[in-house]
Symmetry: C2
Subunit: 268 residues, 2 copies
């Protein structure tokens, strides 16, 4: 008998900032998510609010190679916006849809431990790279029919909060929990899936195998912003995650069933 | 056999804003709290940061009879500051002291349900009065050796977050959990206890009985700011909470043992 069949299913959904910024879309998405049965974990990104708040407060945002450098003031802002405003807004909306959500950062219940990123050439500030996901805690919460809602803030166990990429958080949770669950990792963003032509939403690639992805990358046919997401997705697939899908917030249930969006596949 | 003896002990501690604003004091206090054994819940207030942030963002703070009126922008700010910045800072510091803390608002796990305060004469805005504490959730968390750390934000179950007085939150949790635990409710603030003379910290009233409190109140010998706190404390005592103490952050263990601070007592 296959061990995989004894495991319960778990859906881990990462939503990107664009959905968070669009109030009506977020509400519709959370309503649909609340209706999905079974074990679920939601991971959310940031959206424009942190940048706007920093601007209003006159805090300069340092970007290096497309990454935000998290200095002390920026960490304060992302903690307020991600773990405070956005996380609690999402949790309250899920509760309104009879879904028993609970918002967590990596510090809460020691759910995700990380270390401050070290780089000899570049100081990323308070950016965290994940060391450990607290599998037992997630199992307890899911076992009590609670849906963890994760803000992309981790901690180092020494009292320091750290800003961590939300895609990475979702992937690390998926990887760690894949030992105990059949995990489907779902990236939800503003496009209907991975597109052949970034300008044409009808060109969704339904099934994206690793070798084909490599070809598209070499030919420059993958939009730059998608590359870290897809690299992460293939890495997760190679480390135990059973299924990965990328799709739009507008039709969550179809994406979950693999009837919309892009399914990421290992080579056969 | 007395039923009370079968219950486990639970300490519920409310810390006021003054302690949160003083970084070194907060760190020392949390270190001492982490060392206290057994079931614990921490409830924290707000401090000056929300007011400062509102000022920096040019959001006018409306106060009526000493109460902050929570309009939409103010709710956003207190959610960011209380549930985001302060709550996560406290949780990370407790984790650094090997105490498995988990930060929650009333929306998280539906821990505290409230309704928007109704008043025909005065619109308090998004201020919440508590309806229900989720006893089962707190029992589960405490049973898993987790210390809940509660930010004074509740929800109405319809998707609306609400700003709620932290003293009231502590009292409502204490009252609800006193059915299942022997609850000691502890208010920690900047003074060493309830004082005979507000100017002289050596005049701590060690034991404050209800009838004596009434006398002091009539004579105008209780500092105005203490009255709601003490009224709340006596109400909690009359609704099942076993023990209430008020004391300073500087000597938590002595306050917990009743060797410092003020113990609130029913009349004999």
């Amino acid at each position: 008998m296959n061990q995989e069949h004894l495991k319960e299913d778990l859906i881990i959904i990462k939503i990107s900032g664009n959905i968070i910024d669009d109030e009506a879309r977020l509400e519709n998405f959370l309503k649909e998510l609340a209706a999905v049965k079974g074990n679920k974990i939601l991971v959310h990104g940031g959206g424009v609010m942190a940048t706007q708040l920093a601007k209003e407060l006159g805090i300069e945002q340092k970007m290096i190679e497309g990454r935000r450098i998290t200095d002390k003031d920026t960490l304060k802002i992302v903690t307020m916006v991600y773990a405070g405003y956005i996380n609690k807004k999402i949790v309250a909306l899920l509760q309104a849809n009879q879904s028993n959500a609970m918002g967590l950062t990596g510090a809460d219940g020691n759910s995700i431990k990380a270390h401050k990123r070290k780089n000899a050439n570049l100081d990323y500030g308070f950016a965290g790279d994940v060391d450990e996901v607290n599998v037992e805690l997630f199992q307890q919460l899911l076992g009590n029919n609670i849906m963890p809602v994760i803000a992309p803030i981790t901690h180092d166990g020494q009292g320091q909060l750290l800003n961590t990429n939300a895609d990475t958080v979702a992937q690390e949770i998926a990887r760690s929990l894949s030992k105990n669950f059949n995990v489907q990792l779902v990236y939800i963003f503003e496009k209907p899936g991975v597109l052949h032509d970034a300008e044409d939403e009808s060109t969704v690639i339904a099934n994206l195998h690793y070798s084909y992805y490599q070809q598209l990358k070499i030919k420059g046919l993958i939009f730059a912003g998608m590359i870290p997401k897809l690299d992460n997705a293939f890495a997760a697939l190679n480390s135990g995650v059973q299924k990965i899908t990328i799709g739009s917030a507008n039709n969550l249930s179809l994406v979950l069933e693999g009837k919309a969006g892009t399914t990421i596949l290992k080579d056969e």
